[in-house]
């Protein structure tokens, strides 16, 4: 320990290093095994994401139909599902899908989803996610994908 009475530095025992043997570096074969194992989860992700987007579409319809009550629960459910897709999509190569899901999360977080415009923005974002998945459009998207993202960003506005 060292420093003034108001500032101390502590060097804790490096317990984690004590449990790791070997002289350094990560076996490239082990990394490949990890990558291959993660890739094996991809089909499951595509199925789950399609179901999640279908649920998002139902939630959006419910949100649009809600007259003027507190739509907080519906929006919370929309956020949770979009957050789930956002978190996983990039790992499985669906970068564009992840970016659109991120837009959806941020739009909900921003909290100005009121009135009819809110419902239409939500619909545009969720329908875009559905289209990306239906086409199995991986990566960050081709020119069409980039254009789609730009238009969605414009629609959502400054975040």
């Amino acid at each position: 320990m060292g420093g003034s009475p108001h500032f101390k530095t502590i060097t804790p025992p490096n317990l984690i290093a004590a449990r790791v043997t070997g002289s350094g570096g990560v076996d490239p074969e082990a990394v490949k095994r990890a990558e291959s194992a993660v890739a094996g989860l991809k089909d499951g992700f595509e199925r789950a994401a399609s179901e999640q987007v279908a649920r998002l579409q139902n939630l959006q319809a419910r949100f649009a139909a809600e007259a003027e009550p507190e739509p907080g629960d519906t929006l919370a459910d929309i956020f949770r599902l979009a957050h789930e897709v956002r978190g996983q999509a990039g790992t499985f190569g669906y970068g564009l899908l992840s970016q659109v899901a991120d837009l959806l999360c941020r739009y909900v977080e921003r909290g100005d989803t009121g009135a009819a415009r809110g419902a239409s923005v939500l619909k545009a974002l969720i329908d875009a996610m559905a289209a990306i998945l239906a086409r199995r459009a991986q990566g960050d998207g081709d020119a069409l994908g980039r254009q789609l993202l730009l238009e969605l960003q414009h629609l959502v506005g400054r975040l």
Binding site: T9, N14, D27, G87
Partner: protein, 189 residues
């Protein structure tokens, strides 16, 4: 000989079962056998209380006690079983303010989604090879927030040289700018 991680005991915290599966799959792929899971910060803390854990990989956004609250509780809670636990904070949000918030809560590393094997493994290696000293001040307890010595830095050294971790870490003057890039907190990916 390459690292053998098989004896590490890792806690994976995420409300999303598929996300936990991704992290578990990566960790298992590099030989880690002892992996326990929790679906929120409160459950994770209970795990820490009852089982030896060497490292936690924690998602930020979770219902109930989120990742940030978990980190703060581990670092400063009176009942924390290991305030020095290495914690990798995972999040989809990488704005500067968010990174600073995780850093100031006491996260050891920051991992942006999408999670990839290379990204997660690099954070693990960083923790093994470059452990940070801890700093204890009235306002902060956690890993030193000035860990990185920029080897290629050619500017003026304003922090008293490289005499050791203590010289690296005094409380910064109010309003001082802090560089927070991938190399400043969380490394590369």
């Amino acid at each position: 000989m390459s690292y053998n991680f098989s004896k590490l005991r890792v806690l994976v915290v995420d409300d999303s079962a598929p996300m936990r599966a991704i992290v578990r799959t990566i960790l298992a792929g590099i030989g880690i056998e002892h992996i326990v899971e929790a679906s929120d910060g409160a459950a994770a803390f209970q795990r820490l209380m009852t089982a030896p854990i060497d490292l936690a990989v924690v998602d930020w956004i979770m219902p109930g006690q989120d990742g940030l609250s978990f980190v703060k509780r581990v670092r400063t809670g009176n009942d924390s079983p290991n305030p020095f636990l290495p914690i990798i904070m995972v999040t989809a949000r990488t704005e500067r303010a968010r990174i600073l918030e995780a850093r100031d809560a006491g996260a050891t590393e920051f991992l942006a989604k999408p999670i990839t094997p290379a990204g997660l493994i690099s954070r693990l290696v960083e923790i093994v090879e470059r452990p940070r000293p801890f700093v204890d001040t009235p306002a902060y307890f956690g890993p030193c927030r000035r860990r990185r010595k920029l080897d290629d830095w050619s500017g003026v050294e304003r922090r008293g040289g490289a005499a050791g971790p203590a010289s690296d870490a005094p409380a910064r003057p109010a309003g001082e700018r802090v560089h927070v890039g991938p190399g400043a907190f969380g490394g590369r990916s």
